[in-house]
């Protein structure tokens, strides 16, 4: 048997201890473990769910669960934790099926090992849907192994045994044994096939469905939780990186010697830039060109940037400006679209017969992710291998990025997952991880690379801006009969920039008999990427605002118009109209839509949106005063994410947070480009909703349906934006077709 005390207390444990300033975590390594020799799951076919590991065969409970003799259960949290609560959610599922008490569970963050733990990522609201089945099976198979071990020990048939609270029970002989006492036996067993093991009846869940506080709360409130930015290594230095202000620009020359002579500066060097980011589709493997400064502490490196004199070759991107983007889009809207991607019925003919036609232009801006913890990573390159500590959302991709950036193989890259201070899609891209590895290799020692807030805001992979030219027609009965969209986005030829495409099936496609969707692209210098509810965060605004316009053109109530548009409960090309109608009816009922007498200058707006497998409808009540100051009084959310909310406490926070996040996007957030450079640099120019601006109440109602449980990181966000805009229209008669609202003279009350 492998003794964790001898083998586990190497460098890694030392690092953890030094990072925490105490020995608290040593116990985790010193105690005997069920998983003493974790057998990697055999490679197999397997998709991402269904009890399979995603990257291999069935996941083994031996990799996830260890039980100490005193009954304390340690469960590995497999996915990156960046505030979405997955480090609590997934272990809850395992613990319930394992049949242990939550109070006996400790959760530990797993390192990146996708053979052992399956697909590890945070993104696309996939944590729950991709792991629901497999985590249940990990727990249930684990439970079965304890049952078998007890049956062996007592010489009784397994069928006579039950479990509860981390114990196996034999009623006939009135005997019980704790899992901890069986752990040594279990460690020698081979896990049975998951298919042979019975899962709990959901009505017997004891942990799943119970509001459970996040497992890291104590660490967070005492300041001991280790975030990526808090990593420490012995002899570690701190790095700052002055990147080319224009994407794809290069350093021509820099006053490196002067910088090196400054106090506390240990290294300064030019980075050539490994692989130039292509203007249209920025590659994840790119290494920006610039100057790295390494010092005894970060502030010394950061301050030295003020003394840097760099001559840049800006490259072609320096000719780009936001004002031109808008002018180009306007000009393109008047010409034949680049590509037609959907054409149902005959839009032109239908528009000719329409009783009312609305022909308008919508637009929305680039947005920065701006998680509160700026990008950073800690790296230690030694003997041709590198170890990384980071809060990457895609640590598997991080291995690739690092390997490519510094010319080693992925097998020589180890990534430790450290808690992240938010992510919102920014940490799907591993540019800063690769940079840290590169710097460590250059200086041949441990280093923490930290981006300043300004770096973070000006070198992001932005939510792409977009322009949509819409024409809609309703017939005399008020039915939406025609819909045409000319979408102007970013790309070259047939290729769209990252996250800048729109599905030809985007609602209301499939629900309007005559529907035409075309796309044109213009080139873009800055990089784009996925921001929380990618695509949907903008498309929800456009579609649900325009549908509201059509409801008014039809002279119909906005809720009723939408219900008519959805029609009978049925599934149309994958879109479940019944589930959406149900949440819409629920939110209308709970908000007393059309029934409440509104105060002066106050009204409600409604919107719904399907994204990331979730059906969401939201109503917002706003007041708008004569000075265009907007107060969101209350938000009602109705959500259908399937049969089971795993952690109602986490679910509520995710939804309320998404609503507030959507409010930030609605009012103030816009990134603009001048001469290829991002103008906004910090939170004063790209504002987040503050406490006084947040609504006093965000009421959430779950509509449960017999569908597999799905994720909550994203789908609550898209509807709130159009719901606010539609409410503002209801108060002021002013239709919002451009975001952010600040551009139209609005501000928060």
């Amino acid at each position: 048997m492998k003794n964790e005390q001898n083998t586990g207390l190497g460098r890694r444990s030392f690092l953890r201890v030094s990072a925490l300033g105490g020995g608290v975590l040593l116990g985790l390594y010193a105690k005997p473990s069920l998983a003493q020799t974790p057998a990697p799951a055999a490679p197999g076919r397997g998709g991402r769910g269904g009890g399979r590991g995603g990257f291999g065969g069935e996941l083994s409970p031996l990799a996830f669960i260890s039980v100490a003799p005193n009954g304390v259960v340690t469960i590995m949290g497999k996915n990156p934790e960046v505030g979405q609560g997955i480090k609590t959610t997934l272990p809850m599922i395992v613990a319930d099926e394992l049949d242990v008490d939550w109070k006996d569970v400790r959760v530990e963050q797993a390192d990146v090992d996708q053979v052992k733990y399956g697909f590890q990522s945070a993104g696309g609201s996939t944590g729950t849907p991709l792991n629901w089945d497999s985590m249940r099976k990990v727990g249930a198979v684990g439970r079965q192994m304890f049952v078998s071990a007890a049956a062996q020990t007592w010489g009784v048939p397994e069928t006579e045994l039950t479990t509860a609270s981390g114990k196996v029970i034999h009623r006939a002989s009135n005997r019980t044994v704790g899992y901890g006492e069986l752990a040594a036996t279990v460690a020698t067993m081979t896990p049975p096939a998951a298919a042979s093991v019975r899962l709990k009846d959901p009505k017997d869940f004891k942990i799943i469905g119970k509001a459970t506080p996040a497992v890291d709360n104590l660490g967070i409130v005492t300041g001991k939780a280790v975030y990526s930015i808090d990593m420490m290594l012995p002899g570690m230095l701190y790095a700052a990186f002055e990147r080319s202000p224009v994407v794809g620009g290069k350093v021509v020359s820099a006053n490196i010697d002067e910088i090196k002579a400054l106090p506390n500066i240990k290294h300064a060097f030019v980075v050539e830039g490994k692989q130039q980011q292509t203007p249209v589709l920025p590659g994840e493997l790119a290494l920006a060109s610039g100057v790295v400064i390494v010092a005894d502490y970060w502030w010394a490196a950061q301050s030295a940037r003020k003394k840097l004199k760099v001559t840049w070759d800006d490259g072609p991107a320096a000719s780009q400006n936001s004002v031109d983007y808008a002018k180009n889009a306007e000009a393109m809207s008047k010409t034949k679209p680049g590509r037609q991607l959907r054409n149902d019925g005959d839009v032109d003919a239908a528009l000719k017969t329409a009783a009312k036609v609305v022909d308008v232009a919508y637009s929305y801006p680039f947005i920065s992710h701006a998680p509160l913890e700026p990008q950073n990573a800690t790296a230690w390159f030694k003997d041709g291998k590198v170890e990384i500590w980071s809060a990457s959302q895609t640590p598997g991709g991080g291995k690739q990025s690092v390997a490519a950036a510094i010319g080693i193989t992925q097998n020589d890259v180890t990534i430790h997952q450290v808690r992240g201070g938010g992510a919102f899609g920014r940490r799907l891209v591993n540019d800063y991880v690769a940079e840290a590895a590169y710097v460590s290799k250059q200086i041949n020692g441990p280093v923490k690379l930290l981006w300043s807030r300004e770096d973070d805001m000006q070198h992001d992979f932005y939510r792409p801006a977009g322009f949509q030219y819409l024409t809609g027609g309703v017939d005399a009965s008020g039915r939406l009969i025609a819909f045409r969209n000319h979408f102007i986005t970013w790309g070259q030829g047939d290729r769209s920039a990252a996250s800048a495409m729109m599905s030809p099936a985007e609602f209301p496609a499939r629900f309007v008999p005559n529907y035409q969707f075309s796309q044109s692209v213009q080139p873009l210098a800055i990089a784009t990427g996925a921001l929380r509810a990618p695509g949907s965060n903008a498309l929800g605004f456009v579609m649900q605002s325009f549908i509201d316009e059509m409801a008014h053109a039809a002279g119909k109530d906005p809720v009723q118009f939408r219900l008519d548009l959805l029609g009978e409960p049925r599934v149309v090309e994958g879109y479940d109209a019944g589930r959406m109608s149900a949440v819409l009816k629920t939110v209308a009922e709970k908000s007393e839509w059309g029934k409440r007498k509104a105060a002066k200058n106050t009204a409600m707006g409604v919107a719904f949106h399907y994204s990331h497998r979730g059906y969401f409808a939201e109503v917002v009540e706003v007041s708008v005063d004569a000075a265009s100051k907007v107060k969101v009084n209350k938000v009602w959310v109705a959500a259908d994410v399937g049969s089971q909310i795993v952690n109602p406490a986490g679910a509520l926070k995710m939804i309320q947070g998404a609503v507030i996040d959507g409010m930030s996007e609605t009012m103030n957030q816009e990134i603009t480009v001048e001469k290829g450079r991002v103008v906004q640099s910090n939170f004063h120019q790209h504002q987040i909703v503050r406490l006084t601006q947040a609504p006093p109440e965000i009421e959430v109602h779950f509509v449960t349906t017999p569908n597999p449980p799905t994720g909550l990181g994203e789908p609550a966000l898209p509807p709130v934006i159009p719901a606010i805009c539609n409410a503002i229209f209801a108060v002021t008669g002013k239709r919002i077709r451009t975001l952010p609202l600040s551009k139209s003279g609005f501000s928060w009350a």
Partner: protein, 160 residues
């Protein structure tokens, strides 16, 4: 230059430039990582600490201005989570990513030290400088009201 500081009750001395912000002295010299960096320009409040009992932004406080009064960081509220603000934060389950919460709690603790029963208006004034990118404001407000009802630790241990 050498500066004498008192951090969480411990006298200490650091040899750093006079204009180095307290935030980076705490984080990179004293290895007290609870205090966080979010913006560096006084916009987010993630770096909030107490200086002589007042909530201040450590990113805008040069170390030379921090020698005259005791400094308290989140680690100084209590190491075991027993400070009423910490208890309330756990009970209400406030954090999402948690990165802003040290700053939020320090602003809240400074408010409660002066005002044991803050109204929503008082909370607005004291907390509006602290951004939460994850949007935990509803929980924060609830937790401050909750903390106001929790007796401080000395009173509790006196009962034991």
């Amino acid at each position: 230059m050498a500066f004498k500081l008192t951090v969480n009750g411990q006298p200490t001395s650091v040899d750093v430039p006079a204009d180095m912000p307290l935030l980076w002295v705490l984080r990179d010299v004293l290895n007290l990582h609870g205090t966080k960096y979010g913006c560096g320009i006084g916009q987010c409040g993630a770096c909030t600490v107490h200086l002589g009992g007042q909530a201040v932004r450590a990113c805008l406080t040069p170390v030379s201005a921090a020698t005259k009064a005791p400094i308290t960081t989140v680690e100084g509220l209590s190491a075991d989570g027993s400070h009423p603000v910490q208890q309330a934060w756990m009970e209400i389950d406030v954090p999402q990513c948690g990165y802003c919460q040290a700053g939020q709690m320090m602003s809240a603790a400074a408010l409660l030290a002066k005002n044991s029963k803050p109204t929503d208006k008082d909370i607005d004034t004291a907390m509006n400088g602290n951004l939460c990118r994850c949007g935990t404001y509803l929980q924060i407000r609830k937790a401050i009201h909750k903390a106001a009802t929790i007796k401080t630790k000395p009173a509790q241990s006196a009962r034991k």
